[in-house]
C-alpha cells in the first residue's frame, strides 16, 4: 500500500474543470508537488502555471508525476482511473462523486490486479499533515502531529481533525475512505499501515451507518492486529432504517449497518467511543497525553 509524503509528485486529472482548478491551487498552497494536469484536448495549455497534457502517460514522461487525483465527472471517471493505473500512478485518489457502482467494482478489481492503492471514490482524499495533501480538505484544520485519522465522511472528518488539532495532538496521516458502498482502500489496510507508522501514536476512526466495514475493523483490532489507542465516532444513531442518509453507502439494510452494531463491535475491541465528535479528540488526548 502506498500513501503520500512531501516527495509525492501529483498529476491532477480533470484539472481544467472548476473543482480541479480550485483544488490544484489549494494543494499547491499546502505544499503538495502538483507537477501536471491532464485534460484530453487541452494538452499544451496550463492552469495557473501547471502544464496540462492530453494523457497521463505523457504527463508522467514529461513531469515525472507518480500519483494521481481525479476530478473527472462520473461518466469518465472509470476510464480516468484505469488510465492512471496503467501509467503506474500510485496512489490514485478518486474525488468524483456519483460513479456507478458497476464502474467502481471494475476499478477496484483492476487496482487489486495492478497492486495500486485506490482512495475513494467519493472521498475528500488524503493528507500527510504539514507535508502534502492529495485531496480537497481545508488546509487550516490540520497540523503535523501524532494522530492518524480514517474516515468514511468528509466534513465530519474535518470537524474531528479540528478538535484533534485543538487538543494539541495534531495529525500524522489522514485518509478519507469515501462515502460510496464500494471503495478501494479500507479500514483494515490502513490500520495495518498505521500500526507500523512510527509517526502515528493513535487513531481516530470515523465511521457511519451502512455495510459492515467498521465491524470488520473492530474484529481486526480485537484480534491484536492493531495495538495503538483507537477512539471512534459512528454517525447515524438517529438515522432512519432503509433510507439513504446522504451518502450512497449510508443506509441501514435489514439488520445490517446500524450505528449500534458498529459501536458495540468497536467497544468490544476496546476502542473509546465518542458520544459526540469532540469526545474522540478528548479520548485520544487522555490516552496519548
Amino acid at each position: 500500500m502506498k500513501l503520500i509524503n512531501k516527495d509525492t509528485k501529483v498529476v491532477v486529472q480533470g484539472i481544467t474543470g472548476t473543482q480541479g482548478r480550485f483544488h490544484t491551487a489549494r494543494m499547491r498552497e499546502y505544499g503538495t508537488k502538483v507537477l501536471a494536469g491532464v485534460t484530453p484536448g487541452r494538452g499544451g495549455q496550463d492552469v495557473d502555471g501547471t502544464p496540462v497534457y492530453d494523457t497521463v502517460a505523457e504527463a508522467k514522461e514529461r513531469s515525472g508525476c507518480d500519483a494521481s487525483i481525479i476530478f473527472v465527472p462520473a461518466p469518465g471517471a472509470l476510464d480516468a482511473a484505469l488510465e492512471a493505473m496503467e501509467a503506474g500512478m500510485d496512489p490514485v485518489v478518486v474525488i468524483t462523486e456519483g460513479i456507478p457502482v458497476r464502474d467502481t467494482i471494475e476499478l477496484v478489481a483492476r487496482a487489486k490486479q495492478t497492486g495500486t492503492t485506490v482512495v475513494g471514490p467519493n472521498t475528500p482524499g488524503l493528507i500527510k499533515a504539514g507535508e502534502s495533501k492529495i485531496g480537497i480538505m481545508p488546509n487550516q484544520v490540520f497540523k503535523a502531529g501524532s494522530v492518524g485519522i480514517i474516515s468514511r465522511s468528509g466534513t465530519l472528518f474535518y470537524e474531528i481533525a479540528a478538535h484533534v488539532t485543538n487538543q494539541g495532538l495534531g495529525e500524522s496521516t489522514c485518509v478519507g475512505l469515501g462515502g460510496d458502498p464500494i471503495v478501494g482502500l479500507d479500514y483494515i489496510e490502513l490500520l495495518k499501515w498505521f500500526e507500523r507508522d512510527p509517526e502515528t501514536r493513535g487513531v481516530a476512526l470515523i465511521g457511519e451507518i451502512g455495510g459492515n466495514a467498521e465491524e470488520k475493523a473492530a474484529d481486526f483490532i480485537a484480534s491484536g492486529g492493531f495495538t495503538k489507542p483507537v477512539a471512534a465516532y459512528i454517525a447515524g444513531r438517529a438515522a432512519v432504517p432503509g433510507k439513504r442518509m446522504g451518502h450512497a453507502g449510508a443506509i441501514i439494510q435489514g439488520s445490517t449497518g446500524s450505528a449500534d452494531s458498529k459501536i458495540n463491535a468497536l467497544r468490544g475491541a476496546s476502542a473509546a467511543i465518542g458520544e459526540q465528535p469532540v469526545d474522540v479528540a478528548k479520548a485520544l488526548k487522555k490516552a496519548l497525553g
Binding site: 473543482q19 480550485f22 462520473a74 456519483g98 460513479i99 456507478p100 457502482v101 458497476r102 467494482i105 471494475e106 477496484v108 478489481a109 483492476r110 490486479q113 475528500p124 480537497i136 481545508p138 487550516q140 484544520v141 474516515s151 468514511r152 465522511s153 468528509g154 466534513t155 465530519l156 472528518f157 474535518y158 470537524e159 479540528a162 462515502g179 458502498p181 464500494i182 470515523i206 457511519e208 451502512g210 459492515n212 466495514a213 470488520k216 465516532y233 454517525a235 447515524g236 444513531r237 438517529a238 438515522a239 432512519v240 433510507k243 439513504r244 442518509m245 446522504g246 451518502h247 450512497a248 453507502g249 449510508a250 435489514g254 439488520s255 450505528a259 458520544e275 459526540q276 465528535p277 469532540v278
Partner: protein
C-alpha cells in the same frame, strides 16, 4: 430506482429469462380482456413499489375472465402500505413443483456482484438466511472474468439439480447476471423461480437500478420520480424534485448540514441532548447562496419545525454564502422561527458578521448549538 414487477419482467423478457404469459391492466375491463387472451386460470397481482402485497390481499387467483375483472376491481381500489394501486398484472397461473430463490446483489464486503441462490424459494432471502443459512449458495463473481458458464453450472449443481434442469437453471443464472451487469442493478431477484414439469419460470421479478447509473439508461428517466412513490414520503418527493438531499423524520428540530457524515452527526448530537430531529438535509459540497436559501425556506415552511439548526463546516461550501442564503430565506418568510447557526471554516468571519447584522446568533461548536436548538424547540 426500484422497478415494478411488470417493468422488471419487461427487462427480463428482453434477456430471455422464461416468464409466464402476462398482460398489464389499469382497469377491471382490461383485466377481463387479458384473462380472455391468456385463456387459462390466472393470478391478478397489484403493481406497487413495496413488499408485502400478498399479505395485504393484493394477489388474487381468478379462474374466469369475470373473476379476473372482479379481482382487478377489488385490487385497483386498494391502498397497499398507503400506496394507491394503479395497475395490476394478469398472469397465467402455474402448477408449482418447487420454488427456487435466485438473486444477484452488489456485495459491499467482497466488492463485486454476488449471486445468491437457494432451494428454499418463496420466502424472502433474509428469512431464508435466518431459518436455514446452510441452504443459501453464495457465489462472488470475479469482475475481471465475469460469471462464466461453468460458474453458473456449479451454482445450479450446488442446489441439487442435474442434467437438463441443471443446464436450464444455469442458463437463467447467467441471464440474470447479465441483466444485473448491463442494467447497472444494485439488486435483481427472481423469487420464486418456479420449477414446473416443463422447466423453470420466473414468477416474480425485482430489479433495482443504481441511481448513479441512470445516465446510461435514459429509457428509465421518465419514470424516475414516480418510482420513488413507495420509498419516499410526499415531502421527500417534493425535496427530490427540488434536487435537495432530504430525509423526513418525526421530531421538531429542522436540521441542515453540509456533508452526509456531519449532518448525521448533527442529528445524533441533537438526540444526545434530548431533542428530536424533524429531518436530515445535506447541502452537499459547494452549495450556492440560492441553493442554501431554498433549503432553509423548505425547512422553515414545514409546520412541524419549531427551530432550525444549520451546521456548516466550510470547505468548498463558504460560510458567507451560507449566511446570505439564510438571511434571504428569512426575509422571504419573516422571522417566524428560531434559527441556530454554527459555522466554521472558509470565510467564517464574513459569514458571522452578515448573520449578526441580520440579528441571527451563531455558535462556535456544534455541541453548544445543539443544546440551544433543543431548548428553543421546547420554547424555553
Amino acid at each position: 430506482m426500484k422497478l415494478l414487477e411488470y417493468e422488471a419482467k419487461d427487462v427480463f423478457r428482453r434477456y430471455g429469462i422464461p416468464l409466464g404469459l402476462s398482460v398489464i391492466a389499469a382497469k377491471p375491463e382490461e383485466a377481463r380482456d387479458a384473462s380472455m387472451m391468456i385463456g387459462k386460470p390466472v393470478v391478478v397481482k397489484a403493481q406497487v413499489g413495496v413488499g408485502g402485497r400478498g399479505k395485504a390481499g393484493g394477489i388474487k387467483p381468478a379462474d374466469t375472465p369475470a373473476e379476473a375483472e372482479e379481482a382487478a376491481r377489488q385490487i385497483l381500489a386498494m391502498r397497499i402500505k398507503d400506496l394507491p394501486v394503479r395497475k395490476v398484472l394478469v398472469e397465467e397461473r402455474l402448477t408449482i413443483q418447487h420454488e427456487v430463490y435466485l438473486g444477484v446483489i452488489v456485495d459491499r464486503t467482497a466488492k463485486c456482484y454476488t449471486v445468491l441462490a437457494s432451494i428454499e424459494g418463496g420466502m424472502n432471502i433474509e428469512d431464508i438466511a435466518a431459518k436455514s443459512p446452510e441452504k443459501i449458495v453464495r457465489y462472488s463473481v470475479d469482475p475481471l472474468t465475469g460469471l462464466r458458464s461453468y460458474h453458473a453450472i456449479s451454482i445450479a449443481k450446488s442446489l441439487g439439480y442435474t442434467g437438463k434442469k441443471m443446464q436450464q437453471l444455469s442458463d437463467i443464472i447467467q441471464r440474470l447476471n447479465r441483466v444485473s451487469y448491463e442494467m447497472d442493478a444494485e439488486l435483481t431477484e427472481i423469487n420464486p423461480l418456479i420449477e414446473t414439469a416443463e422447466g423453470f419460470i420466473a414468477a416474480d421479478a425485482r430489479l433495482n437500478v443504481d441511481n448513479n447509473a441512470l445516465y446510461r439508461h435514459k429509457e428509465l428517466e421518465a419514470k424516475f420520480l414516480e418510482s420513488f412513490e413507495g420509498e419516499l414520503t410526499p415531502r421527500e418527493m417534493e425535496a427530490r424534485a427540488m434536487d435537495l438531499i432530504y430525509v423526513e423524520m418525526n421530531g421538531d428540530i429542522g436540521i441542515i448540514g453540509n456533508g452526509a457524515g456531519l449532518t448525521m452527526a448533527t442529528l445524533d448530537t441533537v438526540m444526545l441532548y434530548g431533542g428530536r430531529a424533524r429531518d436530515f438535509l445535506d447541502l452537499g459540497g459547494g452549495a450556492s447562496p440560492d441553493r442554501i436559501g431554498k433549503a432553509v425556506e423548505f425547512i422553515l415552511r414545514d409546520s412541524r419545525v419549531k427551530a432550525l439548526f444549520v451546521n456548516v463546516l466550510g470547505g468548498i461550501t463558504r460560510c458567507d454564502d451560507t449566511a446570505i442564503g439564510i438571511i434571504k430565506a428569512r426575509k422571504e418568510l419573516g422571522d417566524n422561527k428560531p434559527v441556530i447557526v454554527r459555522m466554521m471554516g472558509t470565510n467564517e468571519e464574513e459569514g458571522k458578521r452578515l448573520l449578526h447584522s441580520a440579528g441571527i446568533e451563531t455558535d462556535d461548536t456544534m455541541e453548544e448549538a445543539a443544546q440551544k436548538a433543543v431548548k428553543l424547540a421546547r420554547g424555553v
